[in-house]
């Protein structure tokens, strides 16, 4: 039963999240130095720094800090940014749509190009299309996303001037502006995923196309097109879904670097900035947040297994 299945998955998330929270907290605790130093400015005396530490509660024992933080997290309070003096949770929610735009853009790119290329390649193995897809996807996987970003900026923003080089426009402000602002970063993020999906889909499609039920479909006179698009694709998507789950996590990681390059105020940039300013509540909050996102994506993947695989729906 799907509801039971989802419930079970949700419950299994709890220990994972707990471990993550401990891990994240102790990791950030281990980061040398703290925000008090940076906050105090360059004229600060050690006494002043100590005072700020006390104000921020950074001088308490780690366990005390952890449980007070966890208590907050459980009540939906991810703490307050040391610099910006704002709720980390609010800020994350405000930034989430930005990163979400990017992630969806990149996912769309991944899916559309990945699936199209995978299907084209698998339909005619060893044809020039297949070779092109194979070569293209190999290179696509090998290219670091930040390098793609640099080159895209060079071509489309600087030389051609078609798309902005930096910045993010909210869709509520200007839809076209929003679209323009996420195209390049989405592509930079999506190329790797599209390549992985294309390769995976090509492989699994070719595997599926050798399976018995495809032979059955052929023996029933069903057209090759329907065989690939109806019979094979749905089943070949099972391993692709796994890959997509991994890619989604990978993509969220990639936003750190791509948002940095494109100056996009999303969650990834929030993490990056906070790591360098040692804004620990932000680091902790946003890393937990990202972990939650990844878990959510995996949950979605698990549920979508049920869509393509009726067997999974039952158990």
């Amino acid at each position: 039963m799907p509801v039971q299945f989802i419930l079970r998955r949700l419950i299994s998330v709890i220990p994972v999240l707990f471990i993550v929270s401990i891990g994240v907290f102790s990791l950030t605790y281990l980061i040398p130095g703290d925000a008090a130093v940076t906050l105090a400015g360059d004229t600060a005396t050690p006494e002043r720094i100590e005072q700020i530490r006390q104000e921020l509660g950074l001088d308490r024992p780690m366990l005390v800090q952890y449980f007070s933080w966890l208590g907050g997290v459980l009540q939906g309070n991810l703490g307050t940014s040391i610099y910006a003096n704002q709720s980390v949770g609010d800020e994350l929610l405000r930034r989430f749509p930005v990163t979400f735009s990017l992630a969806v853009g990149a996912m769309l790119f991944t899916l559309i190009f990945g699936i199209a290329a995978g299907v084209l390649a698998a339909r005619k193995p060893n044809s020039w299309v297949d070779r092109l897809v194979q070569a293209g996807s190999s290179v696509g996987i090998a290219m670091p996303s930040f390098w793609i970003a640099l080159i895209l900026v060079l071509i489309f923003a600087v030389n051609l001037g078609w798309l902005p080089a930096v910045g993010y426009v909210a869709p509520t402000v200007s839809f076209v502006g929003w679209l323009k602002s996420i195209i390049l970063p989405s592509i930079a993020l999506g190329v790797g995923g599209a390549s992985v999906v294309a390769r995976q889909l090509r492989g699994s499609l070719m595997d599926v196309l050798t399976l018995d039920y495809v032979r059955t479909a052929k023996a029933r006179g069903i057209s090759p097109r329907a065989i690939v698009l109806k019979h094979a694709l749905k089943n070949a998507m099972v391993p692709v879904l796994t890959v997509l789950g991994v890619q989604a996590a990978y993509l969220l990681g990639g936003t750190v670097i791509v948002e940095q390059i494109f100056g996009i105020p999303g969650v990834g940039k929030y993490v990056y900035d906070s790591l360098f300013t040692l804004d620990l509540p932000v680091v902790q909050g946003s890393v937990i947040f990202i972990a939650l996102l990844v878990i959510l994506v995996n949950l979605l993947v698990d549920i979508s297994y049920g869509l393509v695989n009726p067997k999974a729906r039952q158990t």
Partner: protein
């Protein structure tokens, strides 16, 4: 030769080739795998003999040649403090290889025994190990690597450790998954029915049979390590200046996309080609090993 028959007719001399000979021949059949292997061997040689291969000292600054485009003196141009880019790319291969190889080995060293035991013994051990792995995997690799590097401090060694930790869940899962799959094979049951002790089964029956996918995964992870090292260096958490690393070179060149655009390409191409080679190598390896498994 006429039909190959089973006893009593078989008389063909039994070739006592261990798997590797067959493997090599099959590997060589894959054209791109071969090219990749040759490239990687060359790369390793170049990295080892960098002082002999590099035309210049990678650290020698020539402030008169700052951001000089490719020329007879500097084949790939000079960087922002006038260092020879070619020489730096050559020396940079050391960093990439060290980061790639050692992070994977380190991770494997930890994951292999744990995964073997978790997969073979199952039960609580397995649950605990897998939950830890799950938790580690909920963090995107780059975020995890970034956070770990921030904790450990920048530098090649720490970046390598961070990457090794990032790889842990992947290897754990792979080893455990493979062990569980192989544990179901009849030949394991056969060994158990003989009374072979668990440790011996793990060592002599399971380990050799999970080696192939593991080797392939190592190659795949190595490709990822190359990319991740570049990303960390790009973000300033990798190798410390003035040591050359491809990621760092790219980060530096980012500043000069307008005035010295070629600088963006050189280290980028080095990364892409090397990652590509490792990936193709892994593919070819998977294919040749795969056949081995399938036929068996």
């Amino acid at each position: 030769m006429t039909a190959t028959l089973s006893p009593p007719t078989i008389e063909s001399p039994a070739p006592r080739r261990r798997g590797s000979g067959r493997l090599l021949r099959r590997f060589a059949r894959n054209k791109w795998g071969g090219v990749a292997a040759v490239y990687l061997v060359l790369l390793v040689l170049v990295a080892i003999f960098a002082p002999l291969v590099a035309p210049m000292d990678p650290l020698a600054q020539d402030l008169n040649a700052v951001n000089q485009p490719p020329s007879a003196a500097h084949w790939l141009g000079a960087d922002d403090v006038g260092r020879d880019i070619l020489s730096r790319i050559i020396y940079g291969s050391r960093v990439s290889l060290i980061a790639g190889v050692s992070s994977v080995l380190l991770s494997l060293l930890v994951a292999l025994p744990i995964g073997l035991v978790a997969g073979y013994v199952g039960g609580l051990v397995d649950t605990v190990v897998m939950r830890l792995g799950d938790a580690l995997q909920t963090l995107p690799a780059l975020v995890l690597a970034l956070t770990l590097s921030a904790v450990l401090g920048p530098g090649l060694r720490n970046a390598t450790i961070a990457l090794a930790i990032v790889f842990l869940p992947t290897f754990l899962r792979l080893v455990r998954g493979q062990v569980i799959a192989i544990r179901k094979e009849t030949y394991i049951e056969a060994s158990q029915s003989i009374g072979t002790p668990g440790l011996t089964i793990m060592r002599k029956r399971i380990l050799p049979n999970i080696a192939s996918p593991l080797i392939v995964q190592c190659a795949v992870s190595m490709a990822f390590a190359l990319l991740a090292e570049a990303a960390l260096s790009f973000l300033g958490l990798g190798v410390q200046p003035p040591e050359p690393s491809w990621g760092r070179m790219l980060a530096t060149s980012y500043t000069y996309v307008y005035s010295a655009g070629w600088q963006v390409f050189m280290p980028g191409i080095a990364i892409v080609v090397t990652v590509l080679a490792v990936t193709l190598f892994a593919d070819a390896l998977r294919d040749s090993l795969g056949r081995e498994i399938r036929r068996a």
